[in-house]
């Protein structure tokens, strides 16, 4: 059977390379100091989707992301690896969303996409580590979910069998389509970009990216291409485009509020600094033995 697959992906600041300038003086995140990357576990999810496309001819993979105009990069990265199309949810009204408002926006967009058999994303994003958006999207769409997926084993007769991680072990579960899946970072890594697809899609852009070029006074190269090859236009959707309710989006749709952000300065204990010399290390060990900390 051919499958309609929607991949949920997020552009995130690369928290794995946090440097000294990662924070602003006021304690907020200096996003410009952190490179924006494809959330790692969403790449694992994309790979599972592309494998299904390989084994189920006629299947399509649709990328869905939410973010500012430059998040169109996520859709391009998907296209470079074999996705068929993508949508960027972008609107000021989406800003400041917690996980619940994010899942509302994504669920509304998925309804707009209309047909889907599998909705798949990473288990969690590295900028929040909450793992909440997948299950919340599933609930909003009234679909079953399987989280912590390691591998999709089989799809047959409208049912899917997957292997998943649980605390202290593994489980094999089976459920009906359509279904929402979230994939672990330990699942198969994503395939690299395909050179032919990079050639095909490298000029693909969203409206905001084109507008940003114009604002900088740069000319859009090969502007006539965008009419001749409609697939180069990455679709941007606003709240209105997906028939969303603004009161459920962004900051106003978020039950959780940040009350306070504290920069923690650890109270320096009265610490004793010693060298790594034989005498110093031996003295410390003797002291710890004497006061029964060890031994």
């Amino acid at each position: 059977m051919s499958l309609k697959i929607v991949v949920l992906a997020k552009q995130v600041p690369d928290t794995r390379c946090v440097g000294k300038d990662a924070m602003n003086a006021d304690g907020t995140i200096n996003r410009s100091a952190l490179p924006a990357i494809f959330n790692p576990e969403d790449l694992n999810a994309l790979e599972q989707a592309l494998r299904l496309k390989d084994t189920h001819p006629g299947s399509t993979v649709t990328m869905l992301t939410m973010g500012p105009g430059r998040a169109a990069e996520i859709i391009r990265e998907g296209l470079y690896r074999g996705a068929d199309n993508g949508y960027l949810l972008t609107d000021r009204a989406f800003a400041g969303a917690d996980t619940l408002a994010t899942s509302y926006a994504l669920a509304t967009a998925i309804r707009k996409i209309g047909k889907y058999d599998i909705i798949i994303g990473g288990r969690q994003a590295i900028d929040g580590d909450t793992a909440q958006v997948g299950p919340q999207v599933a609930e909003k769409l009234g679909l079953p979910q399987v989280t912590y997926v390691e591998e999709i084993e089989e799809i047959a007769n409208g049912r899917i069998r997957v292997k998943r991680h649980i605390d202290g072990g593994v489980e094999t579960v089976e459920g009906p389509l359509p279904i929402v899946l979230t994939v672990n970072g330990s699942a198969a890594p994503c395939r690299p970009r395909n050179a032919k697809l990079v050639m095909k899609y490298k000029r693909a852009m969203g409206g905001q990216e084109k507008a940003a070029l114009a604002k900088d006074g740069q000319e859009l190269a090969y502007s006539d291409l965008y009419e001749k090859r409609p697939y180069l236009n990455i679709t941007e959707w606003s709240v209105a485009d997906v028939d969303g309710d603004t009161s459920q989006c962004g900051l106003s749709g978020s039950p959780t509020k940040v009350k306070k952000i504290e920069n923690i300065v650890f109270q320096a204990k009265e610490s004793k600094t010693i060298t790594g010399s034989d005498a110093d290390v031996e003295n410390l060990i003797v002291e710890l033995l004497a006061n029964h900390t060890i031994g």
């Binding site: 928290t15 946090v18 990662a22 924070m23 304690g27 995140i29 917690d98 996980t99 619940l100 590295i126 929040g128 580590d129 909450t130 909440q132 299950p135 919340q136 599933a138 079953p144 979910q145 399987v146 912590y148 069998r161 649980i166 605390d167 202290g168 072990g169 593994v170 489980e171 579960v173 089976e174 459920g175 009906p176 039950p255 959780t256 940040v258 009350k259 306070k260 952000i261 504290e262 920069n263 923690i264 650890f266 204990k269 610490s271 004793k272 600094t273 010693i274 060298t275 790594g276 034989d278 110093d280 290390v281 031996e282 410390l284 060990i285 003797v286 710890l288 033995l289 900390t293 060890i294």
Partner: protein
């Protein structure tokens, strides 16, 4: 009505430790708020389950006992909590930040449009003033957790939506029996009234669970390595030291991500929280997410060749040297002096 609820995770007929830890915390929160503590146990064969939870000061135990409720699947457990919460209107709901809690919590919060904060490291009660709208909220749950990117701790509140939901990792809160003979009401619900038959669509067809290979959480001495250990082989040295000291070995997230040690040994906000009497940090710089998981250690020794490593500021002893040089000496002089 408006009580504190704890979802108790079941492994077979046994309540998970993380849930008992949350009952202990939940008891304290309920007492501070002047309300009751209620527990929800859903599984199969739960005839005497209340005996496991009542001693933690639970006033009411909701038992849902049906064949399809173990092993856990998302939909039936979601329906139980959603329908129970619609009746009982809890003000707070706590659950473990486990695979189950992180599957169930968001689904329930979405169904009830309530806020959920993941991986909290502290929970407190306090007031919140919304200056913009001139409203003051009394006795909210402060959901406190480190945020990414440096030494940042965020306090999250849910002013308008109930229940205020939070997940907490195992080992973060202390497990303490309040009273072995604590009296509470036990309610055995008719599961069919809460869970439609259509919820049992996802089937667990195979399941392997192994007991943890180590007892990091309860270890009195922990030897932990960071990225500064350099390799998986570097960690062998730590295992050797740990063997001598009868300690357990843990690692920072950087060390785990680099493949130096197993994922289940990760110490920190998104790993295990430890409370040892002695913590030896080797080649660990000390990101706040790591410190959140070990700061309650009695004595902290930091072995680091960077005198400015953040962890040094909370260490009792700083050994300024390379791990390759210092750790073999610790092993050598322990052997020499302990006999």
């Amino acid at each position: 009505m408006n009580n504190v609820f704890v979802y108790c995770e079941m492994e077979g007929t046994h309540v998970a430790d993380v849930s008992l830890e949350l009952l202990t915390k939940g008891r304290k929160l309920a007492s501070e708020l002047g309300c009751q503590l209620e527990a929800v146990c859903a599984g199969s064969g739960l005839a005497d389950v209340e005996k496991q939870v009542l001693p933690f000061g639970v006033d009411r135990v909701h038992v849902f006992d049906a064949p399809g409720l173990f092993p856990y699947t998302s939909l039936p457990h979601t329906s139980i909590l959603v329908n129970l919460f619609k009746q009982e209107k809890p003000q707070i709901c706590l659950m473990g930040a486990t695979v189950i809690g992180r599957d169930l919590g968001p689904r329930v919060s979405s169904a009830l449009t309530s806020g959920l904060t993941a991986d909290c490291t502290q929970l407190e009660i306090g007031d919140h003033e919304d200056k913009k709208n001139g409203v003051t909220y009394k006795n909210l749950l402060y959901q406190i957790r480190p945020a990414f990117g440096g030494n940042i701790v965020a306090t999250i509140v849910n002013p308008e939506h109930r229940p205020q939901m939070a997940t907490v990792r195992e080992g973060v809160m202390k497990k303490e029996i309040l009273d072995e003979n604590y009296q509470g009401e036990v309610i055995r619900h008719d599961v069919a009234k809460f869970v439609p038959e259509t919820d049992y669509v996802v089937k667990v067809i195979d399941r392997h669970v192994e007991k943890a290979k180590h007892n990091l959480k309860g270890a009195p001495i922990v030897v932990a390595g960071g990225y500064g250990m350099g390799s998986k082989e570097g960690f062998d040295m730590l295992f050797e030291l740990a063997k001598e000291l009868h300690a357990e070995v843990g690692g920072s997230r950087a060390a785990v991500d680099a493949g130096f040690c197993d994922h289940d040994r990760q110490i920190g906000q998104t790993g295990v929280t430890v409370h040892p009497k002695l913590y030896i940090a080797c080649g660990i710089s000390g990101q706040i997410q790591h410190i959140a998981g070990m700061q309650d250690a009695g004595i902290i020794i930091s072995v680091n060749n960077d005198p400015n490593a953040p962890i040094n500021s909370i260490a009792d002893y700083v050994i300024n040297g390379t791990v390759e040089e210092v750790i073999p000496k610790m092993i050598k002089y322990y052997k020499k002096n302990s006999k």
